[in-house]
Subunit: 548 residues, 2 copies
């Protein structure tokens, strides 16, 4: 195991209090830097107990630098696909609770679920659930199959924050209120649209805005770069930076919701970095993908450099994360499919770790101890209350019931505790850092909290073994996986077996039963939807029912 | 002649000083409400000496109300087509000086000029000028055939104004910096794009964003309304209003550059008003166009209502105007072509009055005397220094040399003088009001100032008699028209002959010579481009050369 350098920050108070900004001028700026389809292994930051070979593929020095100055969240979980994560972030609700469990289409009232394989036997075939295919809506106007929410950017804006959305939205289809970032509480919208991916990353192709290329996935607001060699990742970065002058010049706190399309398909090379990876021996697809990852890292670096130049970096919190795991089911990425995220199992759209465990780093100068690793699980719906607490807003009302918890104490007091353990020799290497549990009375969050993933869908028009109708629950080192199609349960100890290859369900029946009850309780608590059998019209059993 | 009610505002100080806002909190909000292709006769406000029959076609109660509360500018002049006016506004320069004299294409480096009629004799054929087909650029980066400017929204923004662009830009082609409103000094861009018209006004057609409809003219940022019956004019209004919350809530002065696509082609009915005009006996095209005019008026009304509701109307200046004259060369407007703007001659793209004289109203509570008519000529390039003076910004630098003059004293002291004349019985009817000249020592502007129009282009692929290569100069009641193709001069007294039907060039040779010298001096002063003969490659003569 390679050792990493661990830098305790001795000057940080051990028991940092809640973020305090009684003085309005001290309200921090906040950036959510959300990447699309970036896997846990796709950066040079090692989120695992060791530096895995896959961490060495892509150069991401700026993310690494952010991690050195902030906290590396080693157990950040989101949903298997994009929209559920993004709507969980916007709502503070778990995806099982919003019932937005798959990605929304560009078309209103359209269910993008693949239909179940027609050749299967009737009693094997599952019917699609009645999930909220119209996503979230911030309006009080009725909207079928949508969940009504108060998005936190609206609360930020109402409290004086200058709120900026850049890039992918994907909260709802065209023809609905949430198609428009201005309805989601944003003052400014740059290129925000409903599409789950861009038509093209190439300026030469006008990002899809040409007569032969155009469809709903063509990127808006980018006419300045048409016909140039500016990769979309760079164009979005240049545009995001332009939006910051006004709040910085006028002393208004800002919230930047910077949602890159990268590194989602189409896998289009970033010309600034492509050749370097070819020269390293990667195949075309791998080099393209690698160049997109480094382009995204460069974007972070350019943003940080600008914030430093404008002398606001020290008062700006940066939350870096991905919306789901790395895609392992796309030929254009090169390499061999279903191996892209090793040692994690599978990838995007799966409830195995590679689908839901994502890179996450938080930079918050003076509050988060630099170079710390925080092992407590963090989930997508935590972002909502966390960002509002960071913004010193504690008096707000929402139409929805929040499921997430603020991680501000984890970031502050929790990182201070880790820093102390590093200073006193309790933590001396990466494995110890990853295993170090922060007590709930310090962080405010149970380190054994349950993490639910719920994906009652067939993703592709064809069946895949490990990417399919599925639910999972992690609690501490244990994880249960429920395969809906087979109605089978699997049990893993991901503390010892992060690859999820050793199914312990047969050897640990008591733990299995316990985890099945926990998963059932969670699904029932959220009133989650499960698929139904075509043959009978009945929903599939709850996990605990399988053991009766 | 129909009498109009004239309401003197006795309480306004007679010699209103320059706008003063030493206290930063008093800086007014400013709205430029710019309509596309709205003719001088297209509203129910009579800008002429009488209420012409054409003023009775369209119901525009909100513009009328604005005029009652503000100043009616009876001699507002712009350029014959869109881009030159819009770039004059953004630069403060005359179009002959920017050398942007025709509309810019959506494609960089593309000259949209119609080529001269091939069937003509060689010595009749004019070659296109080397005008700035790439429009303006706010960047210091080199750009061929573009004029480098500091746009005034940038100065407003740099001085704390929250600057918002909504709708049509049309300052430059795709692939150039000015394609992006964020480069023109705007904090917020809603639907801003380079196209000179929308692909569709219909939400049912996604404003052109469908696979079969799409081209560069499809309107961006409107996904919320796809598939609904929301006319584009209403959608833009709803979006514009959404952008105002942040500055109003936070006490920031705002500048709203509200640039409707209406009432430009395509002539697509506004469903809120269409049937009413059919019921009045209009043909399909006329009723469509009328409904678009009333829709645009409704937009103004909705905006004003919102400003009142938010209690900021009294501190908001509204400048209402059109970018060129009414289109008289389009079958889809119904009626009979070339009669659309009577009694004015011709329409859009012509240097006759109907092409360049436009509706203009200014509302400025407490500064502009209500219900006044100001006869002093105002030109597009005046907008730049005027808006900066309204915003109390007097210390600014620009890369370009401004040609326009601030009309703030005309609006304030000038309207006070008119109000006094109304109170003391000097002005008792509309004709007297229109004829009332405000001395330069009061308004700061010579009431006899010269007004240049310069359109060295063939607009359509076919030749039109009165819409063609042309220049004109108005000075007081006199106007000279130079027809480039024929190299002939015409002279009109528009004080007596607003229809420009009585050419006085033969009977008033001295006045003709005087006006030819003035027009020549103006063109030479701006180093204006004139077309060249295909046969010889030489430019056509200057107007004064024709008389030698």
């Amino acid at each position: 195991m390679k050792k990493i350098s661990l830098r305790p920050l001795a000057s940080l108070a051990l028991a940092a209090p809640l973020a305090s900004c009684a003085v309005e001028d001290e309200r921090p700026n906040i950036v959510l830097f959300l990447i699309d389809d970036l896997g846990w292994l796709d950066t040079s930051v090692a989120f695992g107990e060791e530096v895995y070979p896959y961490n060495l593929r892509h150069d991401t020095p700026n993310i690494a630098s952010l991690a050195e100055q902030g906290a590396t969240m080693t157990s950040a979980y989101v949903c298997p696909v994009s929209t559920p994560t993004r709507t969980s972030i916007m709502s503070g609700m778990n995806a099982a609770h919003t019932r937005i469990t798959n990605y929304t289409s560009v078309d209103k009232d359209w269910n993008p679920d693949a239909t179940d394989t027609p050749s299967a036997q009737d009693n094997d075939v599952l019917l699609r659930t009645d999930w909220n295919i119209n996503g979230v809506t911030p309006s009080s106007e009725p909207l079928d199959r949508a969940v009504h929410i108060t998005p936190y950017p609206q609360i930020l804006k109402d409290n004086g924050y200058y709120t900026i959305h850049v890039g992918k939205g994907h909260w709802a289809p065209n023809g609905t209120p949430a198609a428009n970032p201005l309805n989601m509480g944003f003052c400014v919208n740059v290129a925000g649209q409903v599409a789950g991916k861009p038509r093209s990353y190439y300026g030469e192709e006008n990002y899809g805005n040409t007569a032969d290329k155009w469809n709903y996935f063509a990127v808006q607001n980018m006419a300045e770069y048409y016909g140039t060699s500016t990769h979309l990742t760079e164009a979005l970065t240049l545009e995001a930076i332009k939006t910051l002058d006004y709040p910085i010049d006028n002393g208004m706190p800002f919230y930047l919701n910077f949602c890159h399309h990268a590194v989602h398909t189409p896998i289009h090379r970033d010309p600034r970095f492509f050749q370097k990876y070819v020269d390293r021996g990667m195949d075309e697809g791998q080099a393209r993908f690698a160049s997109m990852c480094e382009g995204m890292d460069k974007s972070l670096g350019d943003l940080v450099a600008y914030l430093r130049e404008r002398d606001v970096l020290d008062n700006t919190i940066i939350v870096f994360m991905s919306d789901n795991g790395g895609n392992s089911e796309n030929l254009s990425k090169g390499g061999t499919r279903h191996t892209q995220n090793l040692p994690l199992r599978e990838g995007k759209a799966s409830c195995y770790e590679a689908g839901i465990r994502v890179p996450m780093v938080v930079y918050w100068k003076g509050k988060v101890a630099a170079g710390t690793r925080l092992n407590t699980p963090v989930v997508a719906e935590d972002i909502y209350p966390t960002i509002l607490e960071m913004a010193c807003i504690d008096d707000y009302q929402t139409v929805q019931q929040l499921d997430g918890k603020s991680i501000v104490r984890l970031l502050t007091a929790g990182s201070a505790a880790v820093s102390k353990a590093m200073a006193d020799g309790t933590i001396t290497n990466q494995q110890q850092a990853n295993d170090f549990q922060i007590a709930e009375d310090i962080s405010g969050i149970d380190p054994q909290r349950e993490v639910l993933a719920h994906f009652p869908h067939q993703w592709k028009p064809y069946q895949l073994h490990d990417i399919d109708y599925m639910s999972s629950l992690r609690k501490g080192d244990w994880k249960i996986v429920y395969r809906h199609r087979q109605q089978t349960l699997e049990l893993y100890n991901i503390g010892e077996d992060i690859t999820e290859r050793n199914d312990l369900s047969a050897t640990h029946p008591e733990k299995l039963a316990q985890m099945a009850e926990a998963l059932t309780a969670k699904l029932e608590g959220y009133d989650a939807l499960l698929p139904t059998f075509r043959a009978t019209g009945k929903r599939i059993p709850m996990p605990n029912e399988l053991l009766k």
